[in-house]
Amino acid sequence: MTTVRSRLLPYLLLAPSVAFLAALFLVPLIQTITLSFSEDGVPSLANYTRMVSDLNFGLAVRNTFLLVLTVVPIQIVMALAMAMMLQKLPRGRDVVLWIWTIPLGISDLAAGLVWLAILQDRGYLNSALYGLGLIDGPTAWLTYETPVALFFGVLVAEVWRATAIVLVILFAGLQLIPKEYKEAAEVFGARPWTTFVRITLPLLKPSLQTALILRTVLAFEVFAVVYAIGGTNFPVLVGEAYNWQRNYQNTGVAAAYAMLIVAISLGATVVFLWALRTKPEQQA
C-alpha cells in the first residue's frame, strides 16, 4: 500500500507542472507545427517553399549563425576568464559579481537602445572619435552599406548584455569543485595553465554544458538587440518571423520560421548534450 503510494507520489507531485507545460507549451507547439505545414487548411509545404525562396532568408540564416558562432564562444571564454579571476579574489567577490551581472537586469530591448545611443550617427562614440580628431564628421555605422560595422555593433551589444548569465553559471560550477583537486595537481607539478586545462575544465564540464545550451538557444532567438540597433538592415531568423507575422500578415511563413528556429535549437542542444556528456563513473 505504502510502496504503491510512495512510488506514485513523485509523479503526482510533478503532474501540475507537467499539465501546465502541456497547456502552455505543447498545445501552441502543435498548433505552430500544423500551421506551418498547411495552406488554407490543406497539408502543404508551401510555407516552407515561400520562406526559403524569400530574398532575406539566406541573409537571415547567415547572420544568425554568424552571430551565434561568434557571440557564444566569446561569451564562454570571457565568462570563464571572469569566473577564474573572481575566484582568485580574497574578498569582495559578491560586489564584483553583482556589478558584473547588472546587464542581466536590463531588458534586451533597453540594452539595444543603450548601444544604439552609443553607436548611432550622432551617438557617443561618434562624438568621442570626432572630439579626438579621428574622424571628420558623424559617420553612419549601422546601415545597410556597412554590414561589418553593423555586425560588430550587434556583437558588442550582445556580449555586453548576456555574458553575465554564462558567468553566473560557470562561477557557481567552479565553486562546486573541491579545492583539493587543484591543490593535488599543483603538488604534482602542474602549472596553473595545465591545472586549468587538465583539472578545472574537465570538472567544469557539466556547468559548461548548461551554459552552452542556454546561451546558444537564446542566441538563436536574438531579436530585440538587433532590431534596436540595425532595424531591418541586419535580418535575423526571429526578425523574419516577426516580419512575416506583423508586416506581411502571413502566419504560415512565420510559423515555418518558428519551426526552423526550434529545429536548430534542438539540434544544438543535442550536439552539446552529446559532445559534453559526463560518463556517470567520471562524476565527481
Partner: protein
C-alpha cells in the same frame, strides 16, 4: 639531499592559533611520524610545508634551500591528502601517472612506475577503473600510489592508511616502510594511530594544541614521555599516573619504599601497565581488580588502588575475578617522575 628544517612556523586562522612556533629538524631520508589528537594542527603543518597554506611566521628549508615562498609545484615533494583528492575524471592509471606526466616522463618510464606503485598497493585490478567505482580504502591506496610513483625526495602523507582494514594496514605499513627506506625518501607521516607511528617512524613528533610537545625515538616517546599528555596519548593502554608524596627523599607505597627524585613534594609516578610485578600475597601497592580483559598475549587488568584507576598487564593464563586484591611492585627504573602541578617530567636521572 632533502633534509627538512622547519623554523618557528606559526599559523593563525583569524584569532585562532593553529600552530605555535613549530621547530623541527628532519634528516635526509628520515621517517618522521606526526602524532597527535584531532585538531592539533597536523594537516595545517603539512599544508604549510607543501605551500598550500600561507604561514603566519617562520621558514621552511628543504635541502638547504629556503622554499618558504617557492610555489608548491617547485618544492619537489609529493603528498597524500587526508581526503585523497583522487581526480574523479581520470582512470586510476592516469591518476597514478599524473605526477610523471607533469614531469614529462617518457611513456615507458610512466608505465613501469605506475606498474610498480600499483603492485605495491595492490591496485593493479583497478587501473582502468574510475575512482567513483572504488571503495574508500581503494581510493586511498590510489592516492598513495600516485605519490609514490614520482619517487619524490620528500613525501608528505596525511593519514594515508586510515581507511584500510587492520590486516591490510599492517601489510601496507611494512611495505611502505621498506620502499621508502630503500628510496631514501624523507617522509613526514601524519597519523593519530599511535601503533602505526611506533611501527613506522624513525622518530615520532607528538603534537598537542599546535605545538610539538616531544620528539624522540618511538621507544623513548613510549617509555620516557615528557608530559602526562604524551604518556596518556602514546601507548595502549595509556600510561598510569599515580599521585604520590615524597617525604625525606622516599616514597612509601603501602610499605614499599621507593627512592624519590625530590626530597619533598607531590609527584606523579608515570608507570606503564607492563612495568608492574604482580604479587598474589599482596605485597606492595594494594590493587583491587575490577575488570580483566584476556587479550591473548596478555591479560589487561583494570582496577583501583586507593581510589586511583590503574591498568596493569598480567600474564595471559591467570584467573582474576573481580575484587581480587593483588600487590603491585613497579619497576623503579622504568618509573617516569612527573611534577604533579605542571604534568611535566622531572629531568631524568640516568636510568641504571
Amino acid at each position: 639531499m632533502a633534509d627538512i628544517k622547519i623554523d618557528k612556523i606559526a599559523k593563525t586562522f583569524g584569532n585562532a592559533r593553529a600552530l605555535d612556533e613549530i621547530t623541527l629538524d628532519i634528516a635526509d631520508g628520515e621517517f618522521i611520524a606526526l602524532l597527535g589528537p584531532s585538531g592539533c594542527g597536523k594537516t595545517t603543518l603539512l599544508r604549510i610545508i607543501a605551500g598550500l597554506e600561507t604561514r603566519s611566521a617562520g621558514r621552511v628549508i628543504i635541502g638547504g634551500r629556503d622554499i618558504s615562498d617557492t610555489p608548491t609545484r617547485a618544492r619537489g615533494l609529493a603528498m597524500v591528502f587526508q581526503n585523497y583528492a583522487v581526480f574523479p575524471h581520470m582512470t586510476v592509471y592516469e591518476n597514478v601517472a599524473f605526477g610523471l606526466r607533469m614531469q614529462k616522463a617518457d611513456e615507458a618510464r610512466i608505465k613501469a612506475q605506475v606498474a610498480r606503485a600499483a603492485e605495491l598497493l595492490h591496485i593493479e585490478p583497478y587501473l582502468e577503473r574510475y575512482p567513483a567505482k572504488l571503495s574508500g580504502g581503494q581510493r586511498q591506496r590510489v592516492a598513495v600510489a600516485r605519490a609514490l610513483a614520482v619517487e619524490p625526495p620528500v613525501l608528505l602523507m596525511d593519514e594515508p592508511l586510515s581507511n584500510l582494514d587492520a590486516l591490510l594496514r599492517l601489510e601496507m605499513r611494512a611495505e611502505l616502510k621498506a620502499v621508502l627506506r630503500e628510496a631514501g625518501t624523507t617522509t613526514i607521516y601524519v597519523t593519530h594511530d599511535q601503533t602505526e607511528a611506533m611501527g613506522l617512524a624513525d622518530r615520532i613528533a607528538v603534537m598537542h594544541g599546535g605545538r610539538i610537545v616531544q620528539i624522540d625515538k618511538p621507544t623513548a616517546v613510549y617509555s620516557r614521555p615528557k608530559t602526562t599528555f604524551v604518556g596518556g596519548f602514546v601507548g595502549s593502554p595509556p600510561m598510569n599516573f599515580l599521585p604520590v608524596t615524597a617525604a625525606s627523599g622516599a616514597i612509601d607505597l603501602d610499605g614499599l619504599s621507593l627512592a624519590a627524585p625530590r626530597p619533598e613534594g607531590n609527584l606523579l609516578a608515570g608507570i606503564r601497565a607492563e612495568d608492574f610485578a604482580l604479587s598474589h600475597s599482596g605485597e606492595g601497592l594494594a590493587f583491587d581488580v575490577m575488570v580483566a580483559e584476556p587479550l591473548g598475549s596478555h591479560t589487561l587488568l583494570t582496577g583501583r588502588s586507593h581510589g586511583q584507576m590503574l591498568r596493569v598487564v598480567a600474564p595471559p593464563n591467570g584467573d582474576y575475578p573481580a575484587d581480587t586484591r593483588l600487590g603491585l611492585k613497579p619497576d623503579p627504573n622504568r618509573i617516569v617522575w612527573m611534577d604533579a602541578a605542571s604534568g611535566e617530567a622531572l629531568r631524568q636521572e640516568t636510568a641504571a
